[in-house]
Symmetry: C2
Subunit: 206 residues, 2 copies
């Protein structure tokens, strides 16, 4: 199972220290989203959270571990994607996966942590490693597990590539006319491609 | 025509100042590739080129203008993509576009400037604007001009999204098994999708 769901397992009920942890994680998420991994410092996170740097280290350890904890929280949407993809028939899995990803990027609340992940992973190997652990292990491999194909993981990654590229051009770099195109129109164009990658039933026939 | 091909038009033959300009551009390209836009400084570029910062400003102006000049040089590969895409029949344009992009990323020499563009454009609005001017205006709109479709620009951008996402997951973030998959196999899987986006002859049929 994911680390996200189990994050608080074994810990006592909500206390002052749990509040402090959450405040640090919220500050960390905001800092990493705005600045990316390299330009974010533990000191900056501590300052934004109104605590001493030593407390950040006490709760989370190194900057890498703070990042991983912050992004795991931020990456809860990935579980939503996974659930929506796994919950339904395979013959429209492409439409479900595409719609869920587009919805997450259209919503400003979920767009922020997604930007943190993209901006950090592109520029920093530590953040890229976290991306690989979270996205590959928790999302894509679970989707691949549902596919009846020997190259299921590659299929899931090629489908993800279409969606990552869509997010890059539409939401991050904002290339027109794609950035302003109607979301439903975009979903209608991309879903068959994602479906084709995942199940081979469309998108690869000549 | 592109600014790249015309870059030296009207300038005198190679002189000491042309050498200095080229040395500055080479240093700038290396700095932007490694650090991305925000962490690169004119002073750092000048130091790497062995010149005074004032000379960098004299030749190129602001940091944004240095970036644009460096990336235009770095972006010569985009013209290769455009030429290879435009030079041939439309019914295998997807294969040509995919192969050219994959070849550029497979080659370490051309991978560096492409990384500079991706890393900078994701983290900085100035660099994103340069990306939009270069990629949209010089590459995608020219490809769209060859397509006989009312939504040609959107088609070119959705095709580009598949290829940008492929580059992100395979070459930047290095998700497995995609990162280690055989290049020809990847081209064979992605080309029909790119073809489908561009011409609608494959990839969107149910």
């Amino acid at each position: 199972m994911s680390d996200i769901g189990a994050r608080r397992r074994g810990r006592p009920p909500r206390t002052e220290s749990a509040d402090t942890r959450d405040r640090i994680l919220t500050a960390a998420r905001a800092e990493f989203s705005e600045r990316g991994y390299e330009k974010t410092s533990v000191r900056g996170i501590a300052k934004a959270a109104g605590v001493d740097s030593a407390l950040v280290h006490h709760y989370f350890g190194t900057k890498e571990q703070v990042f991983e904890a912050a992004v795991e929280v931020a990456f809860a949407p990935a579980l939503k994607v996974r659930d929506s993809v796994l919950d339904g028939p395979l013959d429209n899995v492409g439409e479900r996966m595409t719609r869920t990803i587009v919805d997450l990027w259209e919503n400003p609340v979920t767009r922020t942590p997604l930007l943190a992940i993209v901006r950090s992973a592109v520029n920093n190997e530590t953040a890229a490693a976290v991306f690989r652990r979270l996205v590959s292990a928790q999302l894509l491999r679970r989707i691949a597990g549902e596919l009846d194909a020997p190259d299921a993981e590659l299929r899931a990654e090629l489908a993800a590539a279409q969606l990552v590229g869509l997010a890059m051009l539409r939401y991050v770099i904002k290339v027109e006319p794609l950035a302003s195109a109607d979301a439903e129109h975009v979903i209608a164009r991309v879903a068959p491609v994602v479906q084709g990658h995942l199940t081979g039933r469309t998108g690869t026939a000549a």
